[in-house]
């Protein structure tokens, strides 16, 4: 259940990655969505930062070979994926299937496009969607993700079984993903409508 990338060109024409100032701006524009991408691939916070950092360094080294008519965000996701594959090979980790990868890639593409267009980011949408979660799911999400509690600690704090915590988190992620997808899709549609 992922969104299709409907905006092919996600870099404002004014930003040229070969220009140092523009490159710095592109780093700022894209790093967080790429962090989410790398984190979902590796499931490791520190490794995902290393991968994103390395990806931007590689992009900068090869910036003169970059075709400016292409999409910078797409190019960066490709470098992140290559870096992740290197890491998978080196660490003998589980590799995702092409279908799983393309699904994740399409979602991140939409998120990057939103950020690059200067409209609301995926994090803005997430905050709105968090507020719409049912209370029991929201308090479980906060205990686990935002208060940093383990499953057992969240279970103790909320007075429910650990299995119920896992179920609630899974349900909350499903609802949040759906809500975020809808919000961003609506934002895209309204941006494409003639004024």
């Amino acid at each position: 259940m992922h969104l299709r990338q409907t905006i092919a060109e996600s870099v404002p024409a004014a930003l040229d990655p070969r220009d140092p100032d523009d490159f710095a701006e592109l780093v700022r524009l894209h790093h967080r969505e790429l962090l989410v991408y790398a984190r979902s691939l590796t499931r490791e916070a520190n490794t995902s930062r290393d991968i994103v950092q390395d990806a931007f360094v590689v992009a900068h080294q090869k910036v003169n070979t970059f075709d400016v008519t292409r999409d910078f965000a797409t190019w960066m996701r490709g470098i992140v994926r290559n870096k992740w594959r290197e890491w998978v090979r080196k660490n003998q980790r589980y590799e995702l299937t092409d279908n799983e990868l393309s699904g994740m890639d399409a979602d991140i593409a939409v998120w990057q496009a939103e950020a690059a267009n200067g409209s609301s980011t995926v994090f803005d949408a997430l905050e709105v969607c968090l507020e719409r979660l049912p209370d029991n799911l929201r308090e479980t999400v906060h205990a686990f993700y935002y208060d940093g509690k383990s499953g057992d600690e969240a279970s103790d704090a909320l007075g429910i079984a650990p299995a119920a915590v896992r179920k609630r988190l899974q349900r909350a992620r499903t609802l949040l993903k759906d809500c975020v997808d809808n919000k961003l899709q609506n934002a895209q549609q309204s941006a494409q409508e003639p004024q």
């Binding site: 710095a24 790093h31 520190n46 799983e100 994740m104 994090f123 940093g148 609802l175 949040l176």
Partner: protein
């Protein structure tokens, strides 16, 4: 919002999104941006200067390569190991003669038994029974330097060859099968190491090629500490590898803890975890519990104060 289940990949994406939002909110990762810019657009030029550029510049500090996140972790690990080594060395120095377990003997094989503790039913204790003490200087292979039966059903163990622990471990595993009750097997295990120190604060420290053999698993580690004074003794192994027989999985971790009285085996700082089918993705900050044939992962997330754009 509808409620149909996400695919595993989409669930990973939602999980990563929440974890990243919990980490920094809507804000930028300024540390990461600085590190990237320092290595890219702000990096000092490496090309050779032309003669016309030959101007005298004031002295400047040498550029420092940008640190990677895992470099910080490695530095922390090196510092921790150095501090640990200093502490261990200090303890050995302070506790030299009275508490060292016969310094000239380098390889020890012990049997530890968790007794019911009739006198203190609430606090099971570990009994250490020396089965074999093999002297590194002993030249004759298969020589028993010292042997003491730890229980009627446990056969005597012998170091078959100088420095070779495979034989006594195999013998120990066979001797476990001869024990009458499963409970006895579960609470009996063997520890072997190059060196052993008993400190004044009632800690037993095993170091160098530590091997813990239990009915369900084998653990190898650089060092292992038992706090004998604790109400519930815990064996804490550093830089350890676990091979679980029943579960068919193996793993490596910075610390592995074993509670003999409950049989709980858990790990933190897991660097590798492989079950019979495939590699299991675990973050170093997660806690992994090896529960018989199953693995439970307690995920942990950090949540510093959000930074807003």
């Amino acid at each position: 919002m509808n409620d149909k289940d996400l695919s595993p990949a989409q669930d990973r994406l939602a999980d990563a999104l929440l974890a990243e939002h919990a980490r920094l909110g809507r804000g930028d990762d300024e540390q990461l941006i600085s590190a990237i810019l320092a290595q890219t657009v702000q990096a000092p030029a490496t090309g050779s200067a032309s003669p016309s550029d030959d101007v005298v510049l004031p002295m400047q500090p040498l550029p420092q390569p940008a640190m990677r996140w895992t470099d910080f972790a490695k530095m922390a690990a090196v510092v921790a190991v150095c501090v640990g080594a200093c502490v261990l060395g200090l303890q050995r120095f302070q506790t030299a003669q009275p508490t060292m377990v016969q310094e000239q003997r380098q390889e020890h094989v012990f049997q530890l038994v968790v007794a019911d503790g009739d006198a203190q039913p609430a606090a099971p204790r570990i009994e250490r029974k020396v089965l074999i003490v093999a002297d590194r200087d002993a030249e004759a292979a298969g020589t028993d330097i010292h042997a003491e039966a730890g229980g009627a059903a446990i056969s005597q163990l012998a170091i078959a060859e100088h420095g070779d622990l495979d034989m006594p471990i195999a013998q120990f595993e066979r001797s476990l099968e001869s024990l009458p009750a499963v409970a006895d097997r579960e609470t009996t295990f063997m520890l072997a190491s190059d060196d052993t120190v008993e400190t004044t604060d009632d800690k037993l420290i095993y170091s160098g090629n530590v091997v813990l053999t239990h009915a369900q698993f084998t653990l190898t580690a650089d060092s292992l500490v038992i706090d004998q004074a604790a109400a519930t003794p815990v064996l804490k192994a550093l830089n350890a590898k676990v091979q679980h027989r029943d579960g068919g999985y193996r793993g490596s971790a910075e610390t592995v803890s074993f509670v003999p009285s409950t049989g709980e085996l858990s790990a933190r700082g897991v660097t590798e975890l492989v079950d019979s089918q495939q590699d299991v993705a675990v973050s170093p900050i997660d806690r992994v519990i090896f529960d018989g044939g199953e693995i439970t992962i307690e995920r942990a997330f950090t949540s510093p104060a959000p930074v807003t754009r």
